[in-house]
Symmetry: C2
Subunit: 212 residues, 2 copies
Amino acid sequence: MTLEIPEVVINRLPVYARALAALALDGETVVSSQALGERLDVTPAQIRKDLSYFGRFGKQGRGYNVQGLLTRLREILGLDRKWRVALIGVGRLGQAIAEYGGFEPQGFQIVAVFDSDPRAVGKLVGNVEVRNSGDLEKFLRANHVDIGIVAVPAHAAQSVVDRLVNAGIRAILNYAPMAPHVPRSVAIRHIDPVLAMQSMTFYIKDREPGAK
Amino acid sequence: MTLEIPEVVINRLPVYARALAALALDGETVVSSQALGERLDVTPAQIRKDLSYFGRFGKQGRGYNVQGLLTRLREILGLDRKWRVALIGVGRLGQAIAEYGGFEPQGFQIVAVFDSDPRAVGKLVGNVEVRNSGDLEKFLRANHVDIGIVAVPAHAAQSVVDRLVNAGIRAILNYAPMAPHVPRSVAIRHIDPVLAMQSMTFYIKDREPGAK
């Protein structure tokens, strides 16, 4: 069954889970697909269809139980557990990632940090000692790691991704400004602010210069 | 015509442009949709269909002229000019954004930086002096800005986005971990590494603990 669920559906579920968590925090116990959809700028039909892949939620006309649906989505996505993350690359970007406070509260713990620069090795970044990236495979053999974050320059990214994949990593968050190849069995997501900006300029390029 | 082009197509064009720029740098003058597709893990048919929205490129069986297609894509996307960017929020994340070296070579220049913390105001971040965010609208009235980058905490993001939109900004890159509402006339993209990781754990959660 898992294989039949479109990736776009899986990609939307964390958004639903986040909105439900915010509602729960606000003390809401029930939410309709209409209200959830308005909050997220998606149609109620979309929400109902996405959730239908995973069974029946809510009763017709009575909305979803906020905590119940949240718990179920967290189970489905695997957000109800801790995930061990290795970060490769601690240049300026990698340091910002290591020190970003948003991962750990969501269950993503950076347990190891690697860099190829001998001057970086041994330093503390985000409370984790930087290891020599030559020791990457040895570390991954000896320690359980679920996710690799790649924050190396573009020219080094494919090689680092290949090494992670060969060492058994099945989920990669890529910050390098290129799209490394991975086997179909490996999940990869790209964080690419330049591409994001380049995909918006199309829509604003015909405004008059200086127009407000 | 512009309105009929699906957003997913527009989102792929910068990826094609980047690949073509890399090919040009390698001295390649011609590329087939097959070769370009293999490089990007998309089908040749997808590339041909995406490009067909913008006219005829390349000759049957002879591939695309690398520099010609690159130049045309850059025109279409508006990547052949400079874009003026304002950054709002210079906490740890905002500082990393301001100091990120990847924007300027692609034509995105951070011309102003704002923060609500009086202790941050006046400091230099990425060679730009931090302004008081109370002066945001005044600055945007007096200076041309194309794109706003929002790097404030989640609870402040909607308010900052509303202020940018009301001041005439039509493209927003949002780093806050929530999805602010914008009118349909405004483009917004989200940089959200936690959501990206949460969309991958679904695929690895059924692996045995400790499996490599």
